[in-house]
């Protein structure tokens, strides 16, 4: 088990250095990627701030609570952008061109090779924005000591759930001529998750919490952090994480049976 972990870490190290070299080849693009994310983070937070200049609360949350939620979502988004996001856009192409063959013949998990191969080092730098933002708004809402300890795990939990769902959805690409459309669905689901669950009407909220639980990605961890005596949001998150991981394994194997390989 230990040697297996060591092997995967060594492969991941190679992925990182390759991605870093590639990113450094186009420095202008590298800088623009950082700027693009920062513009998005800034406008999202400022939009909420402007909105609260005219109202006291939205649903049950005041300005600081919603800004804390938004900063946690941005942190999850930033980790996802850095570690996984680019791979989703390449995956449908590798199915269509048969390049997936090269991942399947290697003695390493093909899901790992397909979704973790390309890293975006530029986005990693933006942790200098999202990290302090989470801490600042965490201080504003007066997080308890327990919540501070749980905060990194909650963010990682949200990231894992988001990507378990998105990888599961990506399996549908095996059955499509051009799977790019699935990526647009993925991006739209992220947009829905960027606002707290109580914003949505009951039917939509239930569907996006209990069927395709994208609203748990941010609302689950933040609800727990704001009130650590209520652990249910985290229980749901962990439960769905396990479920979607199992579903991913099942549909991945099913998808491989439908995969027609290169030049076919």
């Amino acid at each position: 088990m230990g040697s297996r972990i060591k092997q995967y870490l060594s492969i991941y190290g190679s992925f990182f250095s390759t991605s870093f070299s590639a990113a450094m080849s186009f420095r202008g693009h590298f800088v623009l990627l950082i700027l693009m994310d920062l513009v998005f983070y800034y406008t999202h937070l400022v939009s909420i701030d402007i909105l609260y200049d005219h109202i006291q609360t939205i649903g049950i949350w005041d300005r600081q609570q919603l800004l804390f939620f938004a900063s946690v979502m941005l942190a999850i988004n930033q980790i996802s952008m850095t570690l996984v996001s680019e791979n989703y856009w390449i995956f449908p192409l590798s199915i269509r061109t048969g390049e997936l063959d090269f991942s399947l013949i290697k003695p390493v998990n093909a899901v790992f090779l397909s979704f973790f191969r390309i890293i975006r080092p530029g986005s990693l730098i933006n942790v200098c924005f999202t990290g302090p933002a989470v801490v600042y708004f965490g201080l504003q809402v007066g997080l308890s000591p327990l919540a501070w300890v749980c905060l990194p795990f909650a963010v990682v939990g949200g990231f894992l759930l988001q990507n378990a769902i998105e990888m599961f959805l990506s399996c549908a690409m095996f059955w499509m001529m051009d799977g790019t459309g699935i990526n647009f669905i993925r991006v739209e689901l992220q947009q829905l998750a960027r606002w707290p669950d109580f914003v949505y009407p009951r039917l939509l909220r239930s569907s996006l919490t209990l069927v395709l639980p994208v609203l748990l990605i941010g609302s689950g961890p933040v609800r727990f952090l704001l009130d650590p005596t209520d652990g249910w949001p985290l229980v749901w998150l962990v439960g769905f994480l396990g479920l979607f991981w199992l579903l991913l394994g099942f549909f991945w194997r099913l998808g491989l049976k439908a995969y027609e390989s290169a030049s076919s």
Partner: protein, 274 residues
């Protein structure tokens, strides 16, 4: 050359390019729906849900000068105007420059901007059809709740939107031409889109913004992308004449700049793959 001769020279080329663009759009219909329309539908769902919560229990209260019903109407118009404006495809231009594919346009009697202009027009016409269908549906289901504008108001709103679409085309085209200097330009396009959403009043009406920012934005084309057409279609036409002048200026400026950038860029073009 007289106008009739010009018309008969250019119309077939533009028409043929538009037909090709329609065929390309409809090859992968699901992708088209998911890439062009779904984001706006989801954005509308998010906004309506958010504003419903903001006004919860007091739909007649005034927030930023809007009641809930006015806010919902505002976002419906923003949805429809966004359908018409956000149609660019700058990444294709930079990719064509990188791969050396624009060489054809240097020898064809049909320039690159005309090709992309015709494609943009084709997409806008498709989106116009979708917008008209949506509007008819909404009007049929919610007649009495959504105020339908007078014909002259509708025409003014449409004129503003189409001029904003023209600006968006030139802005896209310019960003694409930066491909002469950079490998990738999609980051610039996404950045422009994020700024346009923020500065056009797509999420929050501009009347919520600080007065100094509103004053500044009056000299930019952004309010004409969403806020101004929506207000005009809701029956408020204050500031429209100034907006038309500002948009005209930005359209002309962007078009001239695009021609200049094209000429400068061509000097660097290596026609890769030739």
């Amino acid at each position: 050359m007289n106008p009739k001769a010009l018309w008969s020279l250019y119309l077939p080329k533009w028409g043929a390019t538009m037909q090709v663009a329609w065929s390309n759009l409809l090859v992968y219909r699901l992708n088209f729906l998911l890439s062009a329309i779904a984001p706006l539908v989801v954005f509308l769902v998010v906004k309506l849900s958010l504003w419903y919560r903001v006004y919860e229990g007091a739909p007649s209260a005034l927030v930023g000068g809007f009641t809930f019903s006015q806010m919902a109407t505002y976002h419906l118009w923003v949805f429809l105007t966004s359908l018409l404006v956000f149609n660019g495809n700058a990444t294709k231009i930079s990719e064509d420059i990188r791969m050396g594919k624009i060489t054809s346009y240097l020898i064809y009697p049909f320039s690159l901007w005309e090709f992309h202009g015709a494609t943009f027009l084709a997409r806008t016409l498709v989106q116009l059809g979708i917008a008209a269908t949506t509007l008819t549906g909404v009007w049929a289901f919610l007649s009495g709740q959504v105020h339908f504008p007078e014909p002259h108001t509708l025409a003014l709103g449409l004129l503003l939107t189409l001029m904003a679409a023209g600006f968006w085309f030139w802005a896209n085209y310019l960003v694409g031409l930066i491909g002469f200097w950079m490998e990738e330009t999609w980051t610039l396009m996404v950045m422009l889109q994020i700024l346009a959403y923020f500065l056009s009043g797509s999420l929050i009406p501009l009347s919520f913004y600080p007065p100094w920012l509103q004053g500044l934005l009056n000299y930019t084309p952004f309010p004409a992308i969403a806020y101004l057409p929506a207000r005009v279609l809701m029956g408020e036409s204050a500031g429209v004449i100034q907006a038309l002048w500002v948009l005209g200026f930005w359209n002309l400026g962007a078009a001239l700049l695009a021609q200049l950038v094209w000429k400068k860029g061509l000097r660097l073009y290596t026609a890769a793959g030739m």
